[in-house]
């Protein structure tokens, strides 16, 4: 069976228990259609980069799924109907990530080891520098 990654966003005014119930519901849809869930990851309440359906924040949940295409179709159909799910993204992947995804790693590293992140920290600065360079190119 193909592997999928499914991320969905739940409305901000739901409680964590309700979000867990939504994840539970999604799991049930998949298992009922002959698939299985490899991993469930809750990213918690995060602020959105822009407003989605009048929400400024949303609960993020990611599911690693191993299921037939029909199960995914059913999950997406039900997600479209459910008003508590404001957005979702399903991707077919070659393999599931082992261990926690980048989203979870990020918050861990910020607290514990700053040194390991050094290289990526530098990359953040690139924004300014590139614009500086871009301007220079225009001058040429």
């Amino acid at each position: 069976m193909p592997l999928y990654e499914h991320v969905f966003l739940a409305r901000q005014d739901l409680s964590q228990a309700q979000v867990d119930a939504l994840a539970e519901n999604a799991t049930k849809i998949i298992t009922d259609n002959g698939g299985k869930i490899a991993k469930t990851e809750t990213w918690g309440l995060r602020s959105l980069a822009y407003r989605i359906a009048k929400n400024r924040k949303a609960h993020y949940v990611m599911l690693d799924i191993d299921a037939p295409a029909a199960a995914i179709a059913e999950l997406e159909r039900q997600s479209n109907i459910n008003e508590d799910v404001i957005r979702f993204l399903t991707l077919k992947v070659d393999e599931h990530e082992k261990g926690p995804s980048a989203m979870m790693r990020r918050s861990d590293k910020e607290r514990s080891s700053r040194a390991e992140r050094g290289e990526r920290g530098d990359r953040g600065d690139r924004g300014d520098r590139t614009e500086f360079r871009a301007r220079e190119e225009e001058v040429e």
């Binding site: 991320v7 966003l9 995060r46 959105l48 980069a49 822009y50 989605i52 949303a58 993020y60 990611m62 957005r87 979702f88 993204l89 991707l91 995804s101 980048a102 989203m103 990020r106 990526r120 990359r123 953040g124 690139r126 924004g127 520098r129 590139t130 614009e131 500086f132 360079r133 871009a134 220079e136």
Partner: protein
């Protein structure tokens, strides 16, 4: 620092070993390849190889769709 190495062509930040993996969930990584306005920075400036730039653009667009990155910053 940027000026001193101005002419030197940098290598692609996603090639070579221990290069970061392009992933739509890694907001912090993607943020470095997006301008202050929220636009994708061209590869001629960031020196990302064209193959990786395609991957990167796709990841940024996915990230935008689920509200992790902005489409525009006003």
């Amino acid at each position: 620092m940027a000026r001193a190495f101005f002419r030197r062509r940098k290598s692609c930040p996603f090639s070579g070993k221990d290069a970061p993996k392009i992933d739509y969930k890694d907001v912090r990584l993607l943020q470095g390849f997006v301008s202050e306005r929220g636009k994708i920075v061209p590869s001629r400036i960031t020196a990302v190889s064209s193959r990786k730039q395609r991957e990167l653009a796709r990841a940024i667009k996915r990230s935008r769709h689920i509200g992790l990155l902005p489409y525009i910053v006003k």
